[in-house]
């Protein structure tokens, strides 16, 4: 079935926000493995339910062994769940119609070492059943998109560095303008320039309405690009956090000032309000200086806050971003306490979608 003919089932959704199209629906997904000599079963995934809306960038985070990779394996149809169901645009994940519109970058790209970078892209272009007439141009454009020069594209991939392989992997994942992109630690082993490039490409995907599932330990990256993030732990989705830019969630900022100014809590609060930011608390150091915590809506808000503080006579010497919300989620997990951030309920009971199953 051609990609464009994927049917969108009509359904009534009982989620917090209305859906334009079903996107990815995971219902009560359970996957167990046998462990050790005793053959004892453990739950890699335990009744996981979530939905990813069409066109959103959805992050999956969690500690090692949480079940993220198993979830990815099930979403991609590599693993068979013991129970539960996954549908992607109403189809089973291993449906060829879904795969025709899916791009995937594994954490560690394994490929035939004899291939050239260009040959590898051409091979996947053909496997994806994209038109042969545009193969050369598409592959050249894909190489350019991920910052690999044509000369590198003609070299065997055995000579590629880890970062180059990761870039090449991203290029193949984006061949043919997929509608669903699964990225497993995409920036792993990539140099800082590559990280910036990956972030920009993710932004482009987000802007073009591609549904992206991102598994990453780079929380700052996840926080920057994802609309929502699922926090997975012990095979369960513990929380789903909404991170949309412009949301009511504020960004923390820690500001330190030197001795010499008459800094009071009232002054700080007034300056923060003038800068459109929030004042949380302040501490005075013995040296006469001090530090305070503030909240700003975004980078621009943080800049306005700093300007307002300086204009109010606060001798600012340092401003550092507070730990991210996702970082706090992780830290709170480490402390074995409930996450202090607001979470969106993970309940999701979509109606049965006809003609689908995993």
């Amino acid at each position: 079935m051609p990609a464009s003919s994927i049917a969108v089932p009509q359904a009534v959704w009982h989620d917090a926000a209305p859906l334009m199209t079903p996107g990815i629906v995971v219902e009560n997904l359970t996957k167990t493995y046998r462990r050790g000599f005793s053959g004892e079963r453990f739950h890699a995934l335990n009744t996981v339910s979530l939905n990813v809306r069409s066109g959103e960038v959805f992050g999956v985070i969690g500690p090692n062994g949480a079940g993220k990779t198993t979830l990815f394996g099930c979403l991609l149809g590599f693993l068979r769940p013991d129970a539960g169901r996954i549908t992607i645009d109403g189809h089973a994940p291993d449906d060829l119609a879904v795969r025709a519109v899916t791009g995937y970058l594994p954490e560690r790209l394994v490929l035939d070492r004899w291939m050239t970078g260009f040959g590898f892209l051409a091979y996947h272009h053909a496997l994806a059943r994209l038109p042969a007439a545009t193969r050369r141009d598409d592959c050249a454009a894909a190489l350019a998109r991920i910052g690999l020069d044509p000369e590198a594209g003609q070299r065997a991939v055995r000579s590629y560095s880890r970062g180059m392989l990761q870039r090449l992997g991203l290029a193949q994942a984006l061949l043919g303008s997929p509608r669903f992109v699964f990225l497993d630690e995409p920036a792993s082993g990539v140099d800082p320039a590559g990280v910036v490039l990956f972030r920009r490409l993710l932004g482009d995907l987000k802007g073009s309405g591609v549904t992206v599932i991102l598994n990453s330990h780079q929380l700052e990256q996840v926080e920057r690009v994802c609309n929502r993030v699922a926090f997975v732990k012990g095979g369960r989705v513990e929380a789903i956090e909404t991170l949309d830019a412009g949301s009511a969630h504020a960004r923390g900022l820690r500001i330190r000032w030197a001795a010499g100014g008459a800094v009071t809590a009232e002054l700080l609060r007034t300056a923060a309000e003038r800068g459109g930011a929030g004042f949380v608390e302040a501490t005075q150091a013995d040296s006469g200086g001090g530090a305070g915590r503030f909240t700003a809506r975004d980078d621009e808000g943080a800049a306005r806050l700093l300007r307002a503080l300086i204009e109010a006579g606060v001798p600012v010497v340092e401003a550092t971003p507070d730990e991210g919300r996702l970082e706090r989620l992780f830290l709170s997990d480490a402390a074995a306490s409930p996450p202090p951030v607001s979470v969106e309920a993970t309940r999701f009971m979509p109606p049965a979608v006809p003609g689908s199953g995993s």
């Binding site: 996957k31 493995y33 198993t70 394996g73 394994v110 996947h124």
Partner: protein
């Protein structure tokens, strides 16, 4: 069948220096022997097992163990299509090389003054192709069972067990054990009997059995690969 998979597999095999060196050996050595002993006729280029083994070993298992299958199966490629493409890749390449070997042996024998009947040469070529079809299918089945080049081990183990059972049956007079041993050996070493069939001294059963084994082995390989969970989740 998937043309891209077939071509990629050929290129992969062609780029493996160690494998190509082995292929040269199993291809060239019988030709040298034919040149040295023309009295042996085409009998020296006895079978295509060596050629097929060199090309087939790890045809699926190496993809499983290396991890390239995840990326492949994320594409719109059916698993059955993958298995059949692998089988076709090996069968066509090994069949062509086996036929070329016989053709060269024929030329050598002609040059050495031991000409062979052309009809017999063509029949030998056809028989070799049918043998390759079965051996490749059985290797596809073994390769879908075990990772890496473990299929070679299974092939040797089956050959050895089959031989031992036949010997034991001879020594002890156990008919059914001998039959099992013969069947095992039949699975890994086809007996096409095409020459006998064409001469009217044999029946169709050998050819039918050969093709049945090939079809069954391919079916099993497809089922096994379809059921295979790709070891994506080793790290949880």
């Amino acid at each position: 069948m998937n043309r891209e998979l077939v071509i990629a597999f050929w290129r992969q095999r062609g780029s493996a220096a160690f494998r190509m060196a082995f292929l040269l050996l199993v291809f060239g050595f019988p030709l040298l022997m034919t040149a040295a002993m023309p009295g042996g006729g085409l009998g020296i280029v006895r079978d295509a097992v060596g050629i097929t083994m060199v090309l087939a070993a790890g045809m699926i298992g190496q993809d499983v163990s290396s991890g390239v299958l995840q990326l492949l199966f994320a594409r719109p490629v059916r698993r059955s299509e993958y298995v059949l493409s692998r089988w076709l890749s090996v069968a066509v390449a090994a069949g062509a090389i086996a036929v070329l070997q016989i053709a060269l042996a024929w030329l050598i024998l002609n040059a050495r003054g031991a000409p062979q009947e052309s009809g017999m040469v063509l029949l030998t070529m056809l028989q070799r192709v049918v043998e390759v079809i079965q051996i490749t299918a059985v290797m596809a089945m073994f390769s879908s069972l075990v990772n890496g080049v473990g299929d070679l081990g299974l092939w040797f183990a089956t050959t050895v067990v089959g031989g031992i059972l036949q010997l034991a049956a001879q020594a002890k007079g156990w008919g059914w054990v001998g039959r099992v041993g013969a069947e095992l050996n039949r699975i890994v070493g086809p007996d096409v009997g095409l020459v006998a069939l064409m001469r009217g001294t044999g029946g169709w059963s050998d050819l039918v059995t050969t093709l049945s084994i090939a079809a069954l082995a391919l079916l099993i390989a497809v089922v096994l690969v379809n059921r295979k969970e790709l070891s994506y989740a080793t790290t949880g």
